[in-house]
Point group: C2
Chain length 190, copies 2
């Protein structure tokens, strides 16, 4: 705690987080992370026994980051629709990254869907958190199918990122986000 070691560990996780996003998990090597951090390759195994332990740590870090975003949306308003709008704003906030490399969560899941069950489950964690948070908001709007609407909203946002990234189309994000926010505003309390 506060030691040099914990600091290095955090540096590795931050660099890996970024690289897993921009290059993909399998396409990121220890050498890449070493170059990004200045920490020698062999040193990594003091902190992590295997590459997928780094993945676990990256996902933990992401749970923290996106958990903070969810909390921020909660504190911004008590109105569920406002919270949903706040969540959808991520599309605009991360627009620059999305058109180049897609969604960090979605692309990780898509990549690791082609791997062992173990890795799939890890990558799914952030989606799970978002899904249940979104479902809470829809529940607060008295929907009985709150979880289904949560999935719908995640699917809409993922579809937007996939196509915006495939065609590197910034305008498509703007247009789609406007439509999505219209849809959210149409989700009135029952």
């Amino acid at each position: 705690m506060g030691s040099k070691g914990e600091n290095n560990r955090q540096l590795i996780v931050e660099a890996a987080d970024q690289l897993f996003y921009t290059r993909g998990y399998h396409q990121t090597s220890f050498r890449d992370i070493a170059d990004a951090t200045g920490i020698p390759r062999g040193n990594f195994y003091y902190y992590f026994k295997t590459k997928d332990e780094i993945l676990h740590a990256v996902v933990e870090a992401r749970l923290q980051v996106y958990g903070d975003i969810l909390n921020a949306c909660e504190q911004k308003s008590n109105e569920p629709r406002q919270r949903l709008l706040c969540f959808s704003d991520m599309l605009a906030h991360f627009e620059d990254n999305i058109i180049v490399t897609g969604c960090p969560i979605g692309t990780l899941c898509s990549e690791l869907a082609k791997d062992e069950d173990d890795l799939q489950q890890v990558s799914r964690a952030v989606f799970k958190m978002m899904r249940s948070w979104l479902a809470e908001q829809f529940s607060a709007l008295n929907y009985s199918d709150a979880d289904a609407r949560a999935m719908d909203m995640l699917a809409r946002m993922q579809g937007i990122t996939v196509m915006a990234s495939a065609f590197q189309d910034r305008d498509f994000i703007h247009r789609s986000l406007a439509e999505l926010q219209n849809w959210i505003n149409g989700q009135v309390s029952n």
Copy 2:
């Protein structure tokens, strides 16, 4: 043409097509393709100079396959909405593969979005074909924003495949497809 060589070339492309889908492009090695076809590794370089030449050939093959599907939808009906419904049926038709490995086109684009421009452009080709075909159908419904609606429809379908694959949720495909087809039926001629 009709020679043994062309036959082997086709076997390589078919095996690579399948493996690029189920394991991803980078995670597929020449050894994997060799094992799948029985054709020795070193032999591949007689047909393809590099791995990305195999990718080009795979995309060509996919353009053929999905082009045939588009033609089939055209022949099935002259009514644009019927054609759009036919296109959306792919979600049900390929359901088994989608929940396990996602969409072959979408996941390829997502993976290669993290690589050089060259590979990105190749992977985008099938989406381009679908996009313009869908836009034709919306144009036939007298929409001035036909291309935008084509993008919307692709985005919706991609979002469905990403989330269905992430949570391996078959029911989500069924439910979402029904909603999508409701949306298509609402696209009445202007």
